[in-house]
């Protein structure tokens, strides 16, 4: 039987970590783009668009991420379309991330005083122009800290993709445990790697938050 040294385990985990990072980055970037589009719809004051985004957000916030992964992985397959774990994980994490980011950002947009909307309205700016030139430049300052903070949730969320067979950090840990029967060592290392990914982000988010509080 093959023998795994400590370094074998660690190097295999680190290779898989790359996929955790890639999946997190894609989910966060795509989720951010979709989230921004949803934010425009959510604050548009057009009833149909607002209603749609509310339902969308309620669905992705109100159901477990794992169920969403299953739905994308097995659900789309029902229509005869072959879905790889990679595609299903990317789609589910993108939509899940976008729902949370939209809500975070909506809070930031709504914290901008009403007078900013009224003044820019009175200057004949359209809704899109108001958002682009007046509201978002101010809201994004406030949004940075909670957005960075949420990215930690995305990284941890990618762990669930292991269940549909996507080989990232958690899945690699499970496979290594099956081969080595050293669960404590393997999962301690997995947890440590997650911590090393997440801690700098949450530390940074705290730091930005503190800086903004001083500026106000």
């Amino acid at each position: 039987m093959l023998q795994f040294s400590f370094w074998d385990i660690l190097s295999n985990l680190l290779i898989a970590t790359q996929w955790t990072i890639v999946l997190s980055l894609i989910a966060f970037a795509c989720g951010g783009i979709v989230g921004l589009a949803l934010l425009f719809m959510r604050t548009s004051r057009i009833p149909a668009l607002e209603w749609f985004t509310k339902v969308y957000i309620e669905f992705f916030q109100g159901t477990p991420l794992l169920m969403q992964l299953f739905l994308f992985f097995f659900g789309i397959a029902l229509f005869g379309i072959e879905v790889s774990p990679w595609t299903a994980a990317t789609l589910a994490l993108t939509f899940w991330t976008s729902a949370f980011l939209t809500e975070i950002w909506r809070g930031c947009v709504e914290s901008i005083p009403k007078g900013q909307w009224e003044a820019s309205s009175s200057l004949a700016l359209s809704y899109i122009e108001q958002m682009r030139y007046v509201i978002l430049p101010q809201a994004s300052r406030i949004a940075i800290a909670p957005t960075v903070g949420f990215s930690v949730q995305v990284i941890k969320g990618t762990a669930l993709a292991s269940i549909i067979g996507f080989v990232e950090l958690t899945k690699a840990g499970t496979m290594l445990n099956n081969a080595t029967f050293r669960p404590f060592l393997v999962y301690s290392l997995v947890a440590l790697i997650y911590f090393c990914l997440c801690f700098p982000l949450s530390w940074w988010a705290k730091k930005i938050e503190g800086r903004l509080n001083v500026a106000r």
Partner: protein, 242 residues
Amino acid sequence: MSLVSIRDVRKSFGANEVLKGVSLDIAKGDVVAIIGRSGSGKSTLLRCINGLETYQSGSITADGIEVGGLATNLRELRRHVGMVFQQFNLFPHLTAAENVMLAPTVVNKVSKAEARATAAEVLAKVGLSEKMDAYPSELSGGQQQRVAIARSLAMRPKVLLCDEITSALDPELVNEVLRVVEQLAREGMTLILVTHEMRFARDVGTKLVFMHHGKVHEEGVPKEVFAAPRTPELQQFVGQVG
């Protein structure tokens, strides 16, 4: 023909009717001072003129554009109707010049250079040439309000609506703002002001409108109306604030 024409406008917030059939005609070059107690509907009336508030019945036309009609082109209307607010509402992330340049560049698609020249001109007019690159947080309340006036002027409005623009200012800063408004009035700008500055209304206004319980209770030439108020409500009001 009047520049702004208000016909029997009614407006309710829920069950509370704040405008109970207001009619008013404002000609080009008029300086209209709207006075009245708080809650009399004067700010609401002003905000109806540029579509910040909707109304339930009646009609308002400003510069030939029907406000509040279904097909109202609010963007076109607001290009010609400026507004200055009690709380200034400057954009805090932009400098004074950038505040002034925003609408001309974004809405009127004027070049940056041309907009900057306009900004320099209107900021000079309000006496703030040296503050072009200052951020709102670096300016006093009076200076901020003058930037807000300049910001409206940059769009070359045909009417300027002023909603209690000195009410949030420290007393010693009120005059610098009023002087700017007075100069605009002298230059022939059509102004509609909701104000508590009775002396200003009397000296600069060409028309006084006293609102009471959601209606125009009394109107006329300011000096005459102040000298001899016809209704007991206005007599009492003038007595209290005068």
